[in-house]
Symmetry: D3
Subunit: 318 residues, 6 copies
């Protein structure tokens, strides 16, 4: 089968793909006719597609986030490549394909990411800090193994959140060595907790965020994580007024740095300052890497990247 | 005795006053001599004072927030009235004066303010909301009867916070009648809870804030109150995910309206919108009233008021 | 007949509606065919509609803001309900329907709103203030009985401006009782005058603003109202330099609070501060109420509301 | 006598000067002694001075804005030149000195500035525009011949406003020739009227603004001038709705360009755009010229200039 | 032939036009049919056009920026005038039409603009300044004779840059006479150099910018011009540290005035202040003039103009 | 001798110190007496001092940045520790003290910092990039071994700039390993060049910046470094249009990220994005470290830190 990012004009092809989006629409003709406006996806990218002859059965058969086998024709439409689907059917068990093969995903396996995070939790020396971090990791549960870190901003794919945490932990380890005045326990805890409530803030499937939850909209992941730390402390008989609890809540609350970016307080401990800038460094460089990866090698410029002052990235030719 | 706001140039006077501020300083002479740089206060206002002949005993005797009897001379210094203290002694029991007579205070007695707030808590119909509000009012304890609402911004005096709450409750009652789509329980709860953690955020004595607490600086009263609601729910077996808990936390978190004003989320329930604007209306009008009260009738303009776009207020003459 | 907000997919219906918008368009076919792109309205809301077989006579017959009788079919198009009109004719006298039944309107009758405003004008104690307010109310004339308060922002419907004034007068009366340092005459006058020039700033019909007038664009309603006060004073031999004239002009000029919101000066009298915050409270809560009213009960979230930090409102479920 | 900008360290000198500022102060000694803290001025600049031996008679004799003859010693104090006054007396008629010789003043005589402005008024072709401009010039009266254009910002000296108008008229004449689509009548009128109410907004003597008037603070010169145009039209039976009246009011209201700079509307006629940028060009270059003039030739950098992004100006050496 | 800005509904016409834009598109029908979506242009303006029956030969024949002869029908489509092309062919030599007749162009011939600029370069008195300016003018070469000054902002047409320079030189000459403290050499040099690198920053043809160059995006014309001055100095043995070189680089670097507008330093020489405001005055008035020119006389309001606070311009009727 | 940060109230001490600042002032007495207002410094910090009995010889003897031996008394003055100097003399050769022992300095020896930087230059693989970097390092010369990185913001001490570069190179090396899409040559070059012109922008002695140079003020170090790259290329026959030259200039020009922070272009290559965030991370953490180092262990809070949203840093107690 052909990967989406390798299709060219006039390719006829057969293969398995994911219906990332599917909408029933009507043509402008009289009478209007039904058709499917589809976004096909695989692990290499996505492409717009049309299926023109929708039968009543089809309407009952095909839904978003379903795997299908299609026969199609790639062609240029208004200067953009598009697919005209000529045949489509649902995937059957004997096809031997699995959903996770078709989605964009972190470059490290979820099981390995979770393993790394668990090991880091284990390595935290301070008992109370370790207890609180472990409680919150437990609370978010298996979602940590597959949730993205954001809807579109950065790490917006399967296991993106865990991947973001793991890369930040690497930077954190380096920085703690370079600058011994930083407390490694707080750095580790801050990195693991800073976005820990995101899986409850967002509603996602297969790494794709469809919406924010009511809690997410009314409270936000930053305040949610702060209350989780209160919960952790209460369940484990840790003094709510202790410097550990306040220190951890401060890390979470301040990690967006400014009020207009969602932080009700600004970083005021050494580790809180470090956390914000480690987070920023990792997120921004991931945006660059993701944009380069999803831009054909033949193009000098990536699309505009919102999180990078809405600028595109240029590939210098050396 | 003479009230401070009635002193005029060349008045010689005797009376009881509060040492609101007291600093030991040295003159520029050689050798430098010790003197006290003092801010005298009573319920009518405050005035700068000097006591030039400080003895070693004096240094051990006089401290800020102490009541004293003084003999003094009011005189103009660089166009401003100032007091030269010629005699000073500590107040003695037989003087029969009490600290609370000397401080700026809300115009309603604390006991009455607390009574009103308690009655409103009682009137909340929803059991869970009432339980949470009562828990938080209990948690802040007797501080609610005397804490100011802010360091300088507005209601910065004895029982200022309770007074602010009570006046807001009056407006809230009116608005709920005018606009029946608002839920009175949430309005009452939001008004009582919105600043409930301020007494833990600030360190105050007799209505005067000397500093913010470590928690206040690292977490802020908004996030603190949100975690108190979590605590209240956990202790009372109320579902943390219930719309009541989320609704109350949202009221508290959003009441500053914008991220740059300290709210990590923006108002997104009818009552949260109402709460923010009731709070603003009451605080701004109190700033006007306080500025007018502390400006001599003979002056047309009050000083500049920070919270009112840094503008002064003019008394129109009709 | 069926109210627009009660139509469901596949309804065939007959009824009277308002052509709120009507545009002649052409299909993409060759040759292109004429059709009407229509916004149907009634007092319950509005819905997009198409009339596909436009004859030359139709083009001469149907125009925006006309009442029609139609036969139609409601159907889902791209997930939104739409109407296909199969028959259409103009309303005839014998149909006994009246334009005002079909438009969105304040919940209080215009005649009652005007009556309330007149009574408040009468109740102003200061002769000169009353004269100036009455002059301006007269100048805007009958438009006060039906103009909206804005194009889209808030109170954007028939008699919206008068309704906004009347609700503000209620709040004003309450606040004057709560805070006796406010002058009721200035509060009343400020509320009635603050938007009094809006009917000259905007061009509206049946509560719907189609455009701003040249004066509205080049001067703005704030400056226009300020010059009306000058006019009122000159015609009534009131001293232009009097504190009354300056006080009233200040109320009008400052009521948007900040330069970036259109006020050339900031509020600097007690009543000007009160006016701005009363105006804000009423306008914001009306935005919430209007958004809730026009969102089906079944939906938890209203659309995004521009004037509320572009946030939607959530209905908590208790 | 010696001009102030020519004094050097250790100069002993005698001459006539203006007491631009005079404050009675006390030394820190015990007992404190009275002295005068003085700002001496002449047409070349100003310098700080002290008079240490103030007698009771002196306190009754010397006041700000008085001309005096002094004997003094210039000396460096904290790296700045200062004057120690050893003798001082009031000017007497036989001294033959006049106040206007001692103040900073526009480089063109007021009588000539007024003459130029009158000629330009005369040259306006449109009768109604000319009538309105003449009315406003009359209304401000003789103040136009001596008022400054601002308190400190630019043209802050005797006849600064008229000088600003005249220089702008020169630029306006040039631009009208270069760009014939501009209407010269509106350009002339806009330039003359844009700041015409400043003499009523500010309280000034000899080109020095001591304060803003109540009207100035509550209405601002922009809105005041707009109402003057209404007044002019009413007294001269000019239609308030005419394009001339609206056009002139628009010029005045929009000339600060942005809401945050005080304009309730933005420029929307060709002449309003031109007026704003001519005003800006003239004001900014005057700030540069005034800063260079009042900085000793020997210094490379002027002080920081608020209106120029708070930057100083450098003299390049060619 | 008919000028584009004179076409009215139902005109059938024949004439020569420029294909400013041409895109091959497909209709929504099944199967989709090819058509050309075209922007026709001549020196009077531009208009949208469709050519419905595109043959395979047509696809090989017609490209953007080509001159064609067409037969067409003007008709209203969705309230806007549009052209339906019925016949189209390439221009042939015997048609005797030339590309430059069909594009929007500065009102002065390029050869005259270049001549004026050269004369001004010649008139610079300081040898080193003249050498550097001449080097940069040479470096940009013939592009100076036809490049626009911007993509859309202002002077966005053939020879727009040279025209902008020449008009600024006129203002500069006037201002140097009015304010003799300005150095005419620096004013002349600053005006010629301020945008001199724009032709290397943008990719343009016939006065129409299609994109920015890589250098333009990564360095920007301001920094590019600063390095050109370094280059000029190095090639001509002029001291890089001289006040002339620094002064010229400062003029270029600071001419956008603020960091957020692209200037890394703010104006700090008299001539740099003048340059910025002369540039602004000329650019803004040209925006007004261009908007008025391209708006039909019958319309009172021009479209919104981005560079003028996104406001439209109104034609007052006197 | 006693280190400054160990002095306590009432200490009498003798030792060698640096006169970091020295100003001749006069007492307020009559006649005023000369005294020195001094900032004493050593490697542990600095302290305010007075020397009351200044003789005419003293005025000729003592100047800022001179080493002296003093006898002094530490005492509290207005709650701050201050030194009263009782004896003072210049350091003599036989004292055996050296200036560099008395100044705040990077924790790594300059010779080692320079060695590291040189090695990194050597390790650049691309010849042209290496040549340009080496040219610029040569151009700044020995200043690189001792200049601070800023006046007050961060790394404001002896060899602060080289230290900042070396720490950034460590982070850069780590990040290049973590993210192989980054080009190590550009990362190394960007780190070394980004602030390379700062020693020409600022005037500093012993790590203390006294002022900015004229070039620094009129051009800024960012634009200066960009022109140095042009110079380097011209002297070494490297194509000015090559991707290497443009890439290096882009790194330097964009490293402040935003226009309002001084960058005329925003980062648009992967390495430019990385450079900005590495720079930020290192600078911010150094601010934290420096603030903690210079705050006594006994204090919980550091002073406010401008570069960290003007917040202080708190030491959590675990």
């Amino acid at each position: 089968m052909t990967f989406i990012n390798q299709l060219v004009h006039q390719d006829e092809f057969v293969g398995f793909y994911l219906l990332k989006e599917l909408e029933l629409k009507q043509t402008n003709g009289t009478p209007p006719k039904d058709y499917f406006d589809i976004m096909l996806g695989d692990s290499s990218g996505q492409i717009s597609a049309k299926y023109w002859d929708v039968s009543p059965t089809d309407k009952e058969t095909f839904f978003p986030m379903m795997l299908v086998k299609i026969k199609g024709l790639a062609h240029l439409y208004r200067e953009k490549l598009q697919v005209k689907i000529t045949q489509i059917r649902k995937v059957m068990p004997e096809d031997g394909v699995s959903l996770t093969d078709f989605i964009r995903s972190a470059p490290i396996r979820p099981v390995d990411l979770i393993h790394t995070i668990s090991q880091v939790v284990e390595s935290i020396q301070d008992k109370e800090i370790k207890t609180i971090v472990a409680f919150c990791v437990d609370k978010v549960g298996e979602k940590l193994s597959h949730y993205p870190a954001a809807k579109t901003h950065h790490h917006a794919y399967f296991a993106g959140l865990a991947y973001h945490i793991v890369r930040m932990l690497e930077i954190g380890e380096f920085i703690c060595k370079q600058r011994p005045f930083l407390n490694p326990d707080f750095i580790k805890a801050g990195i693991i907790l800073h976005d820990i409530a995101k899986p409850e803030e967002m509603i996602a499937q297969l790494g794709i965020v469809s919406d924010y939850s009511v809690q997410g909209k009314l409270l936000g992941h930053i305040s949610m994580a702060a209350t989780w730390i209160t919960e952790a402390a209460l369940y484990n008989d840790i003094d709510l007024q202790s410097q550990r609890v306040i220190g951890l809540q401060h890390l979470v609350l301040s990690h967006h740095n400014l009020g207009e970016w969602g932080s009700p307080v600004q970083p005021q401990t050494p580790e809180a300052v470090a956390l914000h800038y480690i987070d920023t460094l990792d997120a921004r460089l991931q945006m660059v890497e993701d944009a380069l990866d999803s831009t054909p090698e033949s193009e000098s410029w990536t699309p505009f990247i919102r999180g990078l002052e809405n600028k595109p990235i240029y590939r210098l030719k050396l």
